[in-house]
Symmetry: C2
Subunit: 456 residues, 2 copies
């Protein structure tokens, strides 16, 4: 059902325009200019014969082929007419990008509900209205007005298009790729539960993330969530947790925000990962995007920064977690790679002079140690002893690779501008970076929570 | 007393070396290569006659002038000998960078205490041992082995050198400049309270930040803190809050971490800003670095991202704060600058098409509105309608400038790589950027907390 939105053979762009001063232009360009996209495109605009090199049509009714997906970009007043034409044309799926419906007033709500009723009676499903659109990065389809991310295994369903875009920007910047993206807007037909159901079955999707403000059918949402968490990590951020947030949410999507306390309990019970800030949300997505689940909860940290190790230890305990105890064997094995000043306790402070090679050796020993389940290198990049800014990162990733990437690695690197070379290697090596002790501790927490819930 | 550490006319670098493979090289280079530094430098190294173009001496005793400050970089075993020579030479102040004392064992603790006792009896004060050094960016003095930050008005005292360096990197990257920096290490003589006392009197210092693990004299610390907060915002992050953190702290600086619950109460009572993560710490420093204090607690938010506004509203309420109510007059004034779809409520969702000029007008109206005390623009940078990535930021900063920067502005910009041009303008304009709704809400909270405490 939702599948058809993401794999259309033919797409009509209703309100397509080559004029960059008009709103419909970004969606038109994102679809037309994507060379990887094999779907056939039909721009619809009564004022043009040709748009960006493609033949344009006055209405969907004039298109000579069946239409799998219609993207509607016209002003709100014209939308019901276009939807009627889509019904007549037997278009399979519709995405209404246009705003000006249920989020505005009761009248708008009635109009969107009538459109949905008519369409669904004809077997047509609708995403929107009031959304930035949808994407299937796997086939090069960006039917939205936000940037095209790199291809990856994360899929997102979001009630806020722009916040979805913000996360997408952030993840792109951090090297995390996307498979599917859907902004559901006012959810007059297709809702979050439908998307979650689809992501569960979609093979390309391996990590699921959801931004939501209200849940339409609580029971069904909970049951679907319970199913998907069995097979895929599912990360949820809820907007409208407080009364001020709920008030803001009601002007945002025209819906009454779902009460948080009961939803929170349901999300946890279902085994999803609950986040309460954008930072935690992106951190959790990162944690699940690169790492296998740990097989235990024993964390090993080694660092060139004692203070950062102290802060990490605090965060870990505040999240209810513990550091591993180093075994006598482990201490003996790392002995050649640490200077005599180093105390062989966890967190292991290897002191400022430790280099990439020592980091490689200690990381490798931790990966091979049966008493350590999650490996956390923590580095403030040194600017002395001729050290390269990326040598510690290279060292720990080499150790991860040499040991078959069997345990999660959650590297903390905190070095402002010096991070650029490290981020480049992270992207090439498909490895994560966390930007603070707290981020890595939160990442460890969400991995361990999931391990405890599903791998007993 | 502490003043003399930061304004020496003559500096001896004991253990100076031109060999980049040796630890002392970074400190030597940071001092010698800083063209702005007017202090006279005396490298001390029995194995060289000349270091980086400067005449080198076998011992401080051979230096033909009085020495205001000696930086000691030699291995721990040689440190007591050098300290004795410094006493004989009547050096005024000593920074012992070398590690291998109280953080290692009882023996090391005894040695550092003996050195401190001898030195202080001779009227000489010591910073360290086990530290990265000190800086006075105002006079171009970087007597440490970390990078030289840009000049600014923040001064930091930190028990962790590398965590201090991490914050310094982060602030540098975010465009926040430094005045003084001191890593106190094992604090065998000079402690945090001494530094706070000095920062209070130092005119160049306008914002004070402290990373601490243990407090030597609780009563004096509290009294000094109470004094400084009257005149300067003082931000504190405590490592070793939990039992795991305290354990890590004891291997880090050889001290028993101060119990957190009582310290927390004292810090709050004294009117300092308490943070519990690196992110909050940097956010609070940013909040106080650019903005005047607000004169009330009414927050106005306008945005092109409805979901981000929802999340901000949640964060604000979670921090115990409230959004302002828009007056009828305000609504009328912004009317020409928002499209009819926009609901004139706070947070004001101006929807995705709003441009830099509209952001300028709404920002200006908020700055001029007597019912709004803190102005928060929130932007996900659009990639459509030919918008420039920096036009919204330019608009709001222009409004801030045009109204005399009388109210705090806390701009939220969330756009990954597109942030580069915005960050450049922020640096040029000396304006802050916050990276998420939660950061800006926390910034509003710390400003309001300080306003309530000191501007009743």
């Amino acid at each position: 059902m939702v599948q058809h939105f993401f794999y259309p053979e033919t797409i009509a762009i209703v309100g397509a325009t080559a004029d960059p001063k008009k709103f419909g232009n970004a969606v038109t360009v994102n679809l037309v200019n994507n060379e990887g996209l094999k779907s056939e495109l039909f721009p619809i605009n009564p004022k043009s014969d040709e748009i960006l090199g493609l033949q344009s049509y006055s209405s969907v009714l004039d298109v000579p082929k069946d239409i799998d997906l219609a993207i509607i970009l016209v002003p709100s007043k014209a939308v019901p007419i276009v939807v009627n034409q889509c019904i007549e044309k037997k278009v399979k799926r519709i995405v209404i990008v246009s705003a000006g419906f249920g989020e505005i007033d009761e009248e708008g709500k009635k109009i969107q509900e009538e459109m949905a009723k008519k369409a669904t009676s004809a077997g047509i499903r609708i995403i929107g209205p009031n959304c930035v659109g949808i994407m299937n990065v796997d086939i090069g389809m960006n039917a939205s007005f936000v940037i095209t991310p790199t291809q990856g295994k994360v899929s997102m369903a979001t009630q806020s298009g722009s916040f979805g875009a913000a996360c997408l920007y952030e993840m792109e910047w951090q090297g995390i790729g996307f498979s599917k993206f859907a902004n559901l807007g006012n959810m007059t037909d297709i809702n979050l539960t439908d998307l979650i159901q689809y992501f569960k079955d979609d093979k390309a999707t391996q990590v699921v993330c959801i931004y939501l403000e209200n849940v339409v059918d609580g029971r069904k949402f909970y049951e679907t969530l319970k199913e998907i968490t069995q097979v895929k990590p599912t990360i949820i951020l809820k907007g409208g947790r407080t009364s001020a947030g709920a008030k803001a949410a009601s002007s945002h999507t025209g819906s009454i925000a779902t009460d948080y306390s009961s939803l929170k309990a349901a999300i946890k019970q279902a085994g999803a990962t609950l986040c309460e800030s954008m930072n935690d949300y992106v951190t959790a997505i990162k944690a699940f995007s690169y790492s296998p689940l740990p097989t235990g909860n024993r964390v090993g940290l080694f660092t060139n920064s004692g203070g950062s190790a102290v802060l990490f230890s605090d965060n870990l305990e505040e999240f209810g977690l513990e550091l591993a105890e180093f075994s006598a064997e482990f201490k003996e094995k790392i002995n050649p790679f640490v200077i005599p000043l180093v105390k062989k306790v966890n967190p292991l402070d290897m002191i400022a002079g430790a280099r990439g090679e020592e980091f490689y050796q200690v990381a490798k020993t931790m990966f091979e140690d049966p008493n350590i389940d999650i490996v956390i290198p923590c580095v403030v990049i040194p600017t002395f002893l001729e050290m390269q800014p990326d040598e510690h990162f290279k060292g720990v990733i080499r150790a991860w690779n040499d040991t078959g990437r069997k345990k999660p690695i959650l590297p903390i690197f905190m070095s402002g501008k010096l991070m650029e070379s490290v981020k480049k290697i992270a992207a090439e090596e498909n490895a994560p970076i966390f930007m603070s002790p707290k981020e890595a501790a939160f990442a460890a927490k969400v991995l361990i929570d999931r391990m405890k819930k599903f791998q007993k």
